[in-house]
Amino acid sequence: MPAIVVAVGVLGVFFLGYRYYSRYLANKVYGLDPAFVTPAHQFNDGIDYVPTNKHVLFGHHFTSVAGAAPIVGPAIAAFWGWGPALAWIVLGTVFAAGVHDLGSLVVSVRHQARNIGSLAGDVINKRARVLFLLIIFFLLTLVNAVFAVVIGNLFVANPGAVLPVLVQIPFAIAIGQYIYKTRSSALAPSLLGVAVLYLMIWVGEQVPLDITPLADLLGFDQPRSLWVVLLFAYTFVASRLPVWVLLQPRDYINSHQLFIALGVIVLGITVGLDRIVAPVVNDVPEGSPSVFPFLFITIACGAISGFHSLVSSGTTSKQLDKDTDARYVGYMGSVGEGSLALGAVLAVTAGAAATQVEWEALYADFSTASGGAVGNFVNGVAAFANNLGVPLELGAVFAAVVVISFAATTMDTGVRLQRYVVQEIAEQAGFTPLARNLTLASLVAVVVPMAMALLPGGGEQGYTFGVLWQLFGTTNQLTAGLALAVVAVWLTRGRRPTLPVLVPLVFLLTMTAWALVVNFLSFVEAGQVVLAPLDGIIFVLAMWLVVEAALALVAARREPAVSLDGQTEDELVARRDRG
């Protein structure tokens, strides 16, 4: 089947989801009110709280949530065939991610734009706050570990991508300095940055940098391990710099790359009319992970991702101009992420291989599929770029640089966030030396995921990647579960319809717990002394979440109904004046 037909079909369903289901959610479930005075107006300080045009805010929101995760997960999940992968992406985006992203944004806006962790403490109970911190700790640890492995594998497989990525760092610093000192617009410098990056992609393809000899000299078991160590050393330093020095200017360049990559995929499949060569449902080898429950934790970002609730309630809610804008910003954010996941599935099923036999070799078993997923995406995008006249080798370096840039930015942000989480957990545990020392906290934030990423595994690509990715998926889904539980309790208190929230909540928790139990048994059987306890801890957190959510929902049903406006008398006067 031509990829463009599938793409149009999926985007059509997304459109219907936004047109009808998000309207139902906005009006009947969340009760969005155009007269509600949002925190951006209530606390307008010109810094954190700023009323922002909804299209601009969508741009902020989408570029914050989009990264490498909606590429990697779907690229692995194509193992079960493009049918199940796309079905989960479509159903997840329309009925789970939209509900989750919009819900976490609305509940935050109705609580002075507080973040989901703080809301968990208030709406559910104090223990839920500790639960949130622990889930986020494991989520960030696994995020940083899997993306270090992704980048390491890509550098080894595409040594041409090393030079452009390295050159991007000093160039981004120079751009940051220029914009910061001159206060000029970022458009021309960031376009120049993109141009230099693409020039370096061409140079990099001519001058590949392979560190295998150095890794051998230093006694590393494989070159990827050396890359992992170098990457964490880099993130330790980068996370101590002010954001405007490196993270911000690199993000200007990466945001352009996001739209360029999406454009290449759309134009490539439109011009080339590539056909999907993968089967709709793949006949997977015996002993492989089953669709239920593993598909639903393999594709987290792209179908539903708890990380979005952190962005929705962390920054987006502080900038929402009108309550009713939440529908567009929140729901469309999940649709944007779903579209990226759609692009990833098409790249690995229509671009990465020319025939079904070739494709079946790439996805021969789960270990091969998970280890080679990112490489398959890179080759798929290269094939789409080739339809536009870009040589295949150059296209592969371009796609590798895109994925590495996204993953590196995620790692930068992840380590920054993790050190705060480490400090807060240390504060709660009364361990003052760690709570007060940023360097020590940064060290913990770097060393723990690095140890995970360096875990020895079998297979050329390192089977730990597939395993780590699944563990990352479970923690991401648990974060989404916690956010959905907060939304469900809040809606129950207001006697609003809760079914649209409870169905994805129960589904997610069931799939996550099921996957954790199956994985735990296999880890114990394989004698995995690190992964088995880690899986066990995450399972305990999942069960804790189930109990807290159930108790809070039962308690909320017994309480008298409350207004969900959450505004004081003064605020209501301001609302009337504004209306």
Binding site: G46, H60, W244
Partner: protein, 89 residues
């Protein structure tokens, strides 16, 4: 309006839209950084005003011309033409 002027205006609009989307995400970090730097400067000046020895007096010398300019702007804005404090004018 000339073609060049139209192009220039179009480019400026594009810059504004681009910065609104891309810079906005980071604006609060920039403003926080600026606010923290200003607060540090004010704290140091307060220390000196209270008679405490500022640990960075020597390094703060370069901001005195800026302070004199700001003081000058401040008293002019308040309707005072000259300020006989020796700081400016």
């Amino acid at each position: 309006m000339t073609v060049f002027a139209r192009l220039r205006r179009g480019w400026r609009s594009l810059e504004a839209a681009h910065d609104a989307v891309l810079l906005g995400r980071w604006r609060r970090d920039l403003l926080r950084t600026a606010r923290r730097q200003e607060e540090e400067l004010v704290s140091l000046l307060l220390l000196e005003a209270l008679g405490a020895q500022s640990p960075v007096s020597y390094y703060a010398l370069e901001v005195y011309p800026w302070l004199a300019t700001r003081t000058h702007e401040l008293h002019r804005a308040r309707g005072i033409d000259r300020l006989d404090s020796g700081a400016c004018c």
